[in-house]
Symmetry: C2
Subunit: 337 residues, 2 copies
């Protein structure tokens, strides 16, 4: 009898605990995060097992770190900047250290950040000496009356704001120097250069505990770029967009198509005006419109419910996510891999 009583008591206790836990879970606002490290001709043949493991390690580590910060109640804006800074510091990606080189052998870095609650945004284009372009973008948003600053003016502003300034060569890696040499040799031989389509642009989108959506993107642009070319990353609405009424998006790919097609804001407009899910909206744009015109690339997107979509029309996209239900993905190639 004692034993039966204990058993019954234990069962009731478990039931109550379950009710309390599910109540707490339901009360806890969802958080979500998605990260990309670029899309392109990423196939198993082109990537060594060591490279594969290195990319998965950093993507997995950073998505877990960002998720934990969000669970701790950190503001989405800070989480996006923190995680992108870690990607900027990694030579694996085309942002900050490891950025590609321009035709003149320099690094011209672009970044943008946008917050969906206020529609505040900040962007820098063509900066050469700011250690963290995403931090400069945040400073533009928070400490200037402007949204977009470019070139030496943007650097002067970042310097006034006390951001760390470095020599341009800090960003240079052997791999990118070789890529520029190959590109220039092909150009000068009259061969259409095999464009480095492993676009390593990095981006992060999050939903934080306050229900705020934030998107950020940082990139070195295209190998061999000229004439002060600005790609989609720092163009609000093209490579970066966030609006609490719809979604937050960061893009990676052939930037000119992403500007012309307003990729980030078009996905959010479809969510807001057509009432479709971010998965459908992102697929329509990335697997529909962009494929029709040959616009290679992909996006990460998150909505106010914590749903995540990460479509791409290339062989692969370095990506990782933890959605509002806790589902975790770290992947490089096609779905399920």
């Amino acid at each position: 009898m004692k034993r039966a009583y204990t058993g019954l008591s234990s069962a009731i206790f478990s039931l109550l605990l379950g009710l309390v836990a599910s109540h707490v879970y339901a009360q806890q606002p969802p958080v979500a995060i998605a990260i990309h490290g670029g899309a392109g001709t990423l196939t198993r043949d082109a990537i060594t097992p060591e490279q594969d493991a290195a990319y998965r390690e950093i993507l997995g580590r950073l998505v877990d770190l960002g998720h934990q910060k969000l669970l701790n109640g950190d503001a989405g804006l800070d989480v996006v900047v923190d995680i992108i800074q870690a990607l900027e510091e990694s030579p694996l990606f085309n942002a900050g250290v490891g950025a590609v080189l321009t035709w003149e052998g320099q690094h011209e870095l672009d970044a943008a950040i946008m917050e969906g609650y206020s529609l505040r945004a900040g962007a820098v284009a063509g900066v050469k000496t700011v250690r963290s372009p995403i931090a400069a973008a945040r400073a533009v948003m928070l400490a200037s009356p402007h949204v977009m600053l470019a070139g030496p003016g943007a650097e002067a502003f970042a310097n006034e704001q006390g951001l760390q300034m470095v020599d341009n060569s800090v960003f240079t890696t052997e791999r990118r120097s070789q890529a520029l040499l190959r590109y220039k040799a092909q150009q000068q031989a009259g061969i259409t250069p095999v464009v480095d389509t492993k676009f390593g642009t990095v981006g992060v989108v999050v939903l934080d505990t306050a229900g705020n959506l934030v998107a950020g993107t940082s990139t070195g642009g295209m190998t061999g770029k000229r004439w002060g070319r600005i790609g989609d990353a720092p163009v609000i609405g093209a490579g970066t967009y966030a609006n609490n009424a719809s979604c937050a998006v960061s893009a990676t790919g052939h930037g000119e198509y992403f500007i012309r097609h307003q990729v980030a804001s078009d996905i959010c407009a479809r969510v807001q005006y057509l009432g479709v899910s971010i998965a459908i909206a992102a697929n329509q744009v990335i697997l529909g419109d962009l494929v029709e015109v040959g616009g290679d690339g992909g996006v990460i997107a998150v909505d106010a419910q914590g749903n995540v979509a990460m479509p791409f029309n290339t062989e692969g996209m370095y990506r990782a996510s933890i959605d509002g239900l806790g589902n975790r993905i770290v992947a490089i190639y096609g779905e399920g891999e």
Copy 2:
């Protein structure tokens, strides 16, 4: 009898002529054009009768010229560039000659153009020595693989393309020099400067006989701007956008708000996805969303049927239009004036 016969014959002839004419008119595809020369605190008190007449004269002359070119079958792209170049050459507007001065006393000019059939686009930001920024934007679109070029790189590209290069001082006018002096004096006295809200950005949108929608914008930005600030004009989707599926829009106003709210592409997204008219879509954005956040300015918009909308939330906007039915407007202040 002869006379009655003649009268009858004449009546029949007139009837036939009318039928033929209306048939020809119905067969003739509609063309439409709208022009703006900036929005701001434009009231009858602030503008002398001579200034009023001068603005109306150039706006009326150019809208008629552009309309005639469209009727002649000229491509929308050429008409937009031709009319904007005339506005750039006029010292009355904040674009090209007559552009405002930066904090450093220079002119940094921005322009963009987009064509709705192909979604091709070109933009330049922060150019100092290109005589016609809108021509440079068209060259970026037609002769480069890029959409957006900035600073000295954009100038090098324009020079390679054979565009006319000039000394920066060519754009300077006494009126703008005085405006900068006032602005700096107020800033340095710790007074919040009375922002020159007569934003004189210029823009043109057209529907041509091929059914193509084109939008273009050219500007000197804001008096006293610093740090390589880029406004909305050269940002595709913010100040300039065209898509044959919806509309063509050129904006003028407080650029930061126009970037954050994706004004030009949001108006077109509402037309495309919500199925509302350009008048409703443009009013929702300009008189609704932007008013809520204090984003001063206005737009001109045209759709594929030749409808024109020109809402603004400031006291006035220099504007002129001839819609697909031939209705002609030249105005500065509120509706009907």
